[in-house]
C-alpha cells in the first residue's frame, strides 16, 4: 500500500509542478505530455526497441551468469583456483568497462556483438566475486558433515555448497541485473540503431524531454518488475531460505 501512496504523491507533485511551477515544458514535461509522447512512440514501433533492449540484457546477463556460477563456485571452494584467479578477476574489476568500448568496437565491429560483450563483461566480474563470497560463507561444518556422510568432492560441490549458497547467489544476480541495464544504455548510446538507449539519444537531438521521460519510466518499470521477479523466484524456488 505504502509504495503505491508514495508513487501517487510523486505523480501528483510532478503534475502540479509542471502545471503551476512555471518550468518550460522543454525541461519538465507534464505527466499527460509524457503519456502522449508514449502513445506517439508506440505508434512509431517503440515496442521493437523495448524488445531489442530486453533481448540484449537477457542474452548478455544469462551468458555472464552461466559463466560466473561455475567460476565463482570453484573460486570460493578451492584455495588453488582462488589464488590462480583472484588477481585476474580482482584487478580486471577495477578497469572501467566503458574504457574497453573503443577496443570492443575495434575488435567486434558495431553490430550486436560489442553491445553484448559490454553487458557480459560488466556483470561477469561482479557476479563471480559475489558468488565466490557466497560460497565462502557456507558453514564449514556443512561441508565436513557431508564428507563424513560419504560425499565425494563433486557431490559436496553440487549437493551442498551450491544449494547452501543459492539464496545469496540469487540476491547477487538480482543486484547485478541492474548493473546490466546500466551498461546496456552505455552500449546503446554509443553505437546502436535500435533499443531504448538509441531512442533516448534520438530524443536528445530534438530536446524531446517528454520522450526521454518515457524511456526512463519504461526502464524503471522493467527494473522494478525484474527485482520483483527475482524476489518471487527466491520465495518459490528456495522456500526454506526466508
Amino acid at each position: 500500500m505504502l509504495p503505491l501512496a508514495v508513487t501517487a504523491v510523486i505523480l501528483i507533485g510532478w503534475a502540479l509542478l509542471s502545471q503551476y511551477g512555471k518550468i518550460p515544458a522543454m525541461f519538465l514535461p507534464s505527466p499527460t505530455g509524457v503519456w502522449h509522447a508514449f502513445q506517439a512512440l508506440m505508434a512509431d514501433n517503440y515496442a521493437a526497441d523495448i524488445r531489442a533492449s530486453i533481448t540484449r540484457v537477457a542474452i548478455g546477463f544469462v551468458a555472464a551468469t552461466i559463466c560466473s556460477i561455475p567460476v565463482g563456485l570453484l573460486m570460493g571452494s578451492f584455495g588453488t583456483v582462488e589464488s590462480m584467479l583472484a588477481p585476474v578477476v580482482g584487478t580486471l574489476r577495477y578497469v572501467p568497462i566503458t574504457a574497453l568500448v573503443p577496443l570492443l568496437i575495434l575488435w567486434l565491429g558495431i553490430d550486436e556483438a560489442p553491445k553484448l560483450a559490454i553487458i557480459v563483461l560488466s556483470t561477469f566480474f561482479y557476479n563471480t566475486i559475489m558468488i565466490a563470497d557466497a560460497v565462502r560463507s557456507v558453514p564449514r561444518d556443512f561441508i565436513n558433515v557431508s564428507y563424513t556422510l560419504g560425499a565425494t568432492r563433486l557431490q559436496v560441490l553440487r549437493r551442498v555448497i551450491l544449494p547452501a549458497a543459492m539464496p545469496q547467489i540469487v540476491d547477487a544476480l538480482r543486484v547485478n541485473v541492474a548493473v546490466a541495464w546500466n551498461f546496456l544504455f552505455i552500449a546503446e548510446l554509443i553505437a546502436a540503431d535500435s533499443g531504448l538507449g538509441y531512442r533516448l539519444m534520438m530524443a536528445q537531438r530534438t530536446n524531446a524531454s517528454d520522450q526521454m521521460f518515457v524511456a526512463l519510466i519504461i526502464v524503471a518499470v522493467i527494473g522494478f518488475a525484474l527485482d520483483q521477479a527475482f524476489r518471487l523466484a527466491k520465495k518459490v524456488l528456495l522456500p526454506w531460505s526466508a
Binding site: P139, D141, F142, N144, V145, S146, Y147, T148, L149, G150, A151, T152, Q155, R159, V160, P163, A164, M166, L238, P239, W240, S241
Partner: protein
Amino acid sequence: MVGVGGLVFRDVSKTYETPGGPLTVLQDINVAVAPNEFVCMVGASGCGKSTLLQCAAGLNRPSAGTITLDGEPVVGPSADRGMIFQSYTLFPWLTIEENVGFGLSLDGVSAAERRETIDRYLGVVGLTKFAKAYPRTLSGGMQQRVAIARGLANQPRVLLMDEPFGALDAQTRIVMQDFLLEIWRTTHISILFVTHDVEEAVYLGERVYVLRSNPGRVREELRPDFPGTRDHHLKRTTAFHSVVDDILDLLREEASAAM
C-alpha cells in the same frame, strides 16, 4: 553389527606450523574404542579433543602416529565413521526426511530401501511426524536428534560426537543424554564422545579418558562402574559424584598449573 567399530589411536600427535614456531596440540595419544563400546573423552578447551575427533573422521591428518578402524588405517573421511557436530548441521534446504536420507542418496541406494531406512531412524529418534518439515521449524534438541538419525541411517561402524549437546539448554541436554544412551543400547554402535562437561562424560561413558592441555595428552583413563542400568537417578548417587569430583580435581590441578 557385533564385533565392528574398533577404533584405535596409536601414538597420534598433531603439530601445526605457526609464525611463532611449531605448536603441538596433541602428543602421543594412545586411545582405543572397542567394538560396541561407548567411550567419552573429557578435557578443558584447548586440549585438542576436537582435533582428535577430526583426525578420526579423516577431516584432519595426524602429524605422526596411526588411526585404524577395525584394523584398517584411516586415510580420509568415509561413511564408516559418522560424525555429529556441536553446531546444527542439518541442511536447511532439505526436509527432515531428506536430511536423514542424504548419506544414502549419495551412493545410489534405491528409493524404496532409502524410504525404509529413513522411516526406521525417524522412528528411532521419535520424529516421524516431522518428516516433511524443514529444519528451521524444529528446536535445537530436535535438530540434533535428526542429525543423529542422519548419522545412524548411514550405518557407520563408529559414531564420533563432538560436544553434540554443547549448544543446548541444560534441561534439553539431560533429555538428550538419556536419549543417546537409549539409542546406544538399541543399536550398540561404537561411540567416541567428546565433551568438556565432566558429569556428561561420567554419565554416558563406559570408559572415560581425561585429557590434559597444551599439548593435549591422556592424563587418566577411568572405567566408572555403576551397578544397574544408567538413568537419571544415577546422577544423585555418591558413587557418581565421587567419580565426577576425582576428574574435576584432575582438571583443576591442570587449570591452576596453566594460570
